[in-house]
Amino acid sequence: MKNMEKYKMGEKVLMKGNEALAEGAVRAGCRFFAGYPITPQNEIPEYLSWRIFEVGGTFIQSESEIAAINMIFGVAACGVRGMTSSSGCGISLKQEGISYIASAELPFFYANIIRGGPGLGNIAPAQSDYFQATRGGGHGDYRVIVLAPNSVTEMGNFPKLAYDLADKYRNPCMVLADGLLGQMMEPMEFNFDWVDPDKLPPKDYIVTGCKGRPRRIINTLHMIPSILEKHNWHLYEKYQRIEENEVRFEGCNLEDAEIVIVAYGTSARISTEAVIKGRKKGIKVGLFRPITLWPFPKKAINELADRVKKLLVVEMNMGQMVEDVEIAVSGKSAIHFLGRPGGSLPTGDEVLDKVEEILSKPASPERERGK
C-alpha cells in the first residue's frame, strides 16, 4: 500500500487554516466528506475533493447543507469517520440533522468557519455563532462539544481531538473558527500520528447488516414521554461527564494580573498582542482563552474571579460568550466588554486602550453594555 501520509508529525509546513483543518481531518481518519460551497470555508471542500480520494475515501458536493448533514448521519450510522463543514446560514440549515445525530448518539465532526451575520451577512470573519454552537444549535435538549482554535496549527490538530472526543462520548463535536483562521497562512505542524481508520476500536452500535447478531435500530423517536424523558436524562448525565472531564483552556500572564482579558479564537489572538504590549508598558494584564466553548471553563473563570476583580471580554460579536462569563463569575468581579460585530476586527491597540481605560476607573459591579 502506498504511503498516504502527506506530512510527518512535527514537520513544519506553511498552510492555510482551512487546508490544515481538511488535512488534519484526513490524517485523523476522515474518509467521507459532504458539503455545499459557502465562503469563507471553500478551501475545505476544494482540498478534500482530491485529497480524500488519495486515501480511499469519498467526497460529495451535495445539493444542499441539509443533504450533506443527512449523508453524514448515514455515514456515522455505518461507523465511518465523516465530516461536513459550512459557515453561518449553512450551519443553520444543518441543525435539524445535528439534533437527530446528537439524539441518536452517533459521533461525527463538523466545522463552522463563521462569517458575519445575521441573514446573509457578509464573508468577513466573525464570532456571531457562539450562541448557536454552545447551546446545541438545533431543536431539543442537547449539546455538542465545541473546540475553538486560534492558530493554523490548532486548525490542523483539532480534528483529531474532535473525532476522539466524538467517539469517546458518542456525540457530535465541532470546530468553531472564523474566516480569518480559515484563510490565513502560517507555519503549522501536526502533533499526532497518522490514524488508520481500520485500526480504530470497533463500535457496537452501528448498522452493518445483522449477520450473526440481533438487528440494531438507530432511532430518535420515543413516543412515550417517560421513555423520552429517560433518554433526555441519559444524555444529560453524559453532558455532565463531558463538563467534568473535557474542559480545556489556556492562561497567559494570569499570576499577578490586575485585569484579565477573556477571549477565544481570533479575538484571543488579537488580545495576545494587547497583553504583550501592555506588559511592556508595565500593565498587569493577562489573557484567559477558553479552548472548549462547550463545555465552558466555568470553574476556572470563577476561581480566577476570586483574585482578579476586573475582566474584559473581547468578542467579534455583540456579546455572546460574555453571558457565560457572567454566569461563571457570579458577580464576584466587574465584567467589561469589547465587541466588534458584523465582520469587523478589533485591533490589539484598541483592546489595550480599553484595558487602560478600565484600569483608570474603580471597579463597577455592572457590565457596561455596548462597545
Binding site: 474518509r31 467521507f32 459532504a34 469519498t58 460529495i60 451535495s62 445539493e63 444542499s64 441539509i66 443533504a67 450533506a68 443527512n70 449523508m71 453524514i72 448521519f73 448515514g74 455515514v75 450510522a77 455505518c78 465511518v80 465523516g82 435539524e96 440533522g97 437527530y100 441518536a104 448498522v207 452493518t208 447488516g209 445483522c210 449477520k211 450473526g212 438487528r215 440494531r216 435500530i217 438507530i218 432511532n219 430518535t220 423517536l221
Partner: protein, 248 residues
C-alpha cells in the same frame, strides 16, 4: 403438506399498527419477502422515514435507521458510499419524498446512487391527519383542501416516476399498486427487480407504489382499493418508466 404461507423471516413479530386497509403493511411485507428470497437480510439496512411508516424500523427484522423527514435518499447515499457491500433501501411516503425531500430524491437519482427507494404514493399526508400531499390529485379533498385541490391555487401534483425518468441517472423506475392480488404480485416483482439491480451494482432504482389510505381518504378499505383503480391509476398510470438493465 408443507406450509405455503408464513411470516417472512425478515419481519418481526411486532403487530403492525396501521389502519385497516392501509397499503403500508402490504408494502412492508413485500419488501420482507424479497429480502428473504434474495437472502440479503444480513446485509440489509433499511431507512424508515417520517410519516405513518416511521415505525418500519420495528417491523423489519434487519438493521434499521430512522432519519429526518425527507432525507432518506441523503442518508442512503452516505451509507452506500462508505459501505457499498450493504443493501440499502429507503422507504418514503409522498410528503417525505416529493415535498420536503424532493431535492434529495432528484440528486440521489441523478448521481445514480446504488440503493433502492420504495416510494409510497397515497396522495395524502397520513400521519399528520390527512393534509394535501404533493401527489394529491386535482379535485381530491384533504384537510387542507376542504373544497378539493384547485390547481390554480395549489398547483399540479408531482408525477415522480415521469419526472425522474427525464434524468440520465436512474436505472429502473416502475409504478405499481397494492390494491388487489394481481397488482400486489406485480409490485413484488418490481421490488425484487429493484433490489436485484442494486445487488448487481448498477445504480438508482425506485418503485412507486400506489397505496390505499382509507383513513386519509375518508372511505372504507374496499372503496379505497377501488379508488386506486378508478382514480389514482388513471392519473398515475402503472408501468415501467425506465429500465436501463437491458442496455447495460
Amino acid at each position: 403438506m408443507g406450509r405455503i404461507y408464513k411470516k417472512p423471516v425478515s419481519m418481526t413479530k411486532i403487530a403492525m399498527r396501521y389502519c385497516p386497509g392501509c397499503g403500508h403493511s402490504i408494502a412492508h411485507r413485500l419488501i420482507a419477502e424479497v429480502i428473504d428470497e434474495l437472502d440479503i437480510r444480513e446485509r440489509a439496512v433499511g431507512i424508515a422515514p417520517v410519516g405513518c411508516s416511521v415505525f418500519l424500523d420495528e417491523y423489519m427484522d434487519c438493521d434499521m435507521i430512522q432519519v429526518p423527514h425527507g432525507r432518506g435518499c441523503a442518508s442512503a447515499t452516505g451509507m452506500k458510499r462508505v459501505r457499498p457491500d450493504l443493501i440499502v433501501f429507503s422507504y418514503q411516503g409522498d410528503g417525505d419524498l416529493a415535498a420536503i425531500g424532493t431535492a434529495e430524491t432528484i440528486h440521489a437519482a441523478t448521481r445514480s446512487e446504488n440503493f433502492t427507494v420504495i416510494f409510497i404514493n397515497n396522495a395524502i399526508y397520513g400521519m399528520t391527519g390527512g393534509q394535501q400531499a404533493p401527489t394529491t390529485m386535482p379535485g381530491q379533498k384533504t384537510t387542507t383542501n376542504p373544497y378539493g385541490r384547485e390547481v390554480k391555487v395549489h398547483g399540479y401534483p408531482i408525477k415522480v416516476c415521469e419526472m425522474l425518468s427525464a434524468l440520465d441517472g436512474p436505472i429502473y423506475l416502475e409504478r405499481v399498486a397494492v390494491n388487489n392480488v394481481p397488482n400486489v404480485l406485480k409490485a413484488k416483482r418490481a421490488i425484487k427487480k429493484a433490489f436485484q439491480i442494486q445487488l448487481d451494482g448498477l445504480g438508482f432504482t425506485l418503485v412507486e407504489i400506489l397505496s390505499p389510505c382509507p383513513t386519509g381518504w375518508g372511505v372504507i378499505p374496499k372503496k379505497a382499493c377501488e379508488y386506486v383503480d378508478e382514480k389514482m391509476s388513471k392519473y398515475y398510470p402503472l408501468g415501467v418508466y425506465k429500465d436501463l438493465t437491458k442496455k447495460k
